[in-house]
Amino acid sequence: MTTGTKAPTRTEPAFTADEMMSIAAARALSAGQRCFVGIGLPSTAANLARRTHAPDLVLIYESGTLGSKPGRLPASIGDGILAETADAVISVPEVFNYWLQPGRIDVGFLGAAQLDKFANINTTVIGSDYTRPKVRLPGAGGAPEIAASCREVYVVVRQSRRSFVERVDFVTSFGHGRGKGDREQLGLRGAGPTLVITDLGVLRPDPDTAELVLTQVHPGVEVEQVRAATGWDLQVSPELTRTLAPTETELQALRELKAAK
């Protein structure tokens, strides 16, 4: 399934897999939560949540805005609209030191270039040799400390064998390491990635092993299709559910958000 493909529907409105992913990610956010938002898919989802069921969601961007309420999608994490609509604008050191580091943020919302079966994230290099990478990616940004210090981390990423790998080439942001207990051993305070939302479904760490298992598939998606898009032997939860299709309201809000300039 590629991004532009329409997912099969019955009476539900037509929607793309990317739309389903953004809507599923938005639904994961609760009213009143403080959410540290990366640009791109996370920002779309967080802003959609604010426009639908969680109007008082507090958006925090690493550029230095607390409580931004943008009327359109910001073009970057430093878009002027984020500062203009914020409760408070602060310096970048303050964002990281006074707000992120002490664990004041409920949810860190991250993207990924590569994600492995313990939800470790790579945004640094593709290839095993750091000094001579096959592909040089942008790097860490705020992610390592977002992944460490937020109470929970949600990852939003398109799923494919290339992005979902057995083991990431480089651990940019620590998920669950090599399994259950690794975070505690390192003294990390946040729970780490508790939710991975893709264009095919939703994965969660197994409570016993911390390995990501498929807990939810989006409408029209089959389990085998998800397994085929995963670079490890993906386990499926015995309590697998199917994502509710986007409502008209959700789809309209998302499309308006993406159309607004």
């Binding site: 230095g64 430093g78 970048v92 050191p93 940004g141 390592p144 480089f170 651990v171």
Partner: protein
């Protein structure tokens, strides 16, 4: 008191071959005109420091000004990759580029330590990641009270910091507002500093959310209208999002980039940074 200089004079006097140079501005107020002036003056062997080496450093790296990059996130925000940066790292073109890679929290704290006259900063950072293995400026330190282990990073003290701001007065006091990023820290951490500003005014009227850097803490100020373009200056002009897309097409290939350099940087008069930038914009 900061000296008020033309951009070309300021860069000529403050930026030297081999210097460690930080151009800061977190999406907002990126000193693009100053970056292009450094290219125009053909500085070499610079260690470039910047949290987000976006287009401004893609240009400097592609032009061969840098031998090393100290950074935490190198992408074209909202668009994708920095092709000149990738080409330098992956293929050593036009010259090899050494990298020293941190996270945003680490870089921000390195500037804070630099501004504070401390040799290092402490943070909860890098835990479990592969960064410390490749970056020798990440170490561990033990709290003398609790025994807890934390990350330590050394202060950044660039030879020169360059930032862009909205305004300065004639005494060189600088005023900026909106997203202020890590600019104050960069200026205070550096041995020398240059602030390009949208305009020089008689008096700095207070602005909500504004910050003032006293002229005695700044080395030089240069008036460069639209000096942040394609980044933006809140209250003056908006971000040119199309330019960021356009840059993807320029930076992607060596040929198109070199043509851009010739036409938009080297063929432009060296005297007027402001007009140079206007010319350089597509």
């Amino acid at each position: 008191m900061a000296e008020i200089l033309a951009l070309s004079d300021a860069v000529a006097r403050l930026v030297r071959d081999g210097d460690t140079v930080a151009l800061e501005g977190f999406t907002h107020l990126i000193p693009h005109a100053a970056g292009q002036e450094i290219i125009r003056q053909r500085r070499r062997d610079l260690t470039l420091v910047r949290m987000t080496p976006d287009i401004v450093y893609d240009q400097l790296i592609g032009a061969g000004c840098a031998r090393k990059l100290v950074f935490s996130w190198g992408g074209n925000p909202g668009v994708g990759s920095l092709h000149r940066f990738r080409d330098a790292v992956q293929n050593s073109w036009p010259v090899p580029l050494e990298i020293e890679e941190h996270s945003h929290a680490g870089m921000a704290n390195r500037y804070v330590a630099g501004a504070s006259g401390l040799p290092f900063a402490v943070l909860r950072g890098y835990t479990g990641t592969d960064l410390p293995e490749h970056t020798d400026t990440i170490k561990q330190i033990t709290c003398p009270f609790t025994g807890e282990r934390l990350a330590a990073v050394p202060a950044l003290n660039p030879d020169v910091a360059i930032i862009h701001a909205q305004r300065a007065d004639r005494a060189g006091n600088v005023q900026l507002w909106g997203l202020v990023g890590v600019q104050k820290e960069a200026v205070l951490a550096a041995r020398r500093s240059l602030v390009t500003v949208e305009e020089i005014v008689d008096e700095l009227t207070p602005v909500p959310g504004g910050m003032v850097l006293p002229g005695w803490a700044v080395t030089a100020v240069a008036e460069v209208p639209r000096g942040a373009h394609p980044s933006y200056a809140q209250g003056y002009y908006e971000r040119d999002n199309e330019y960021y897309e356009y840059w993807d097409s320029i930076g992607r290939e060596r040929d198109s980039f070199e043509q851009w350099l010739d036409e938009k940087v080297f063929s432009v008069a060296e005297t007027a940074g402001g007009s140079a930038v206007k010319e350089a914009a597509k």
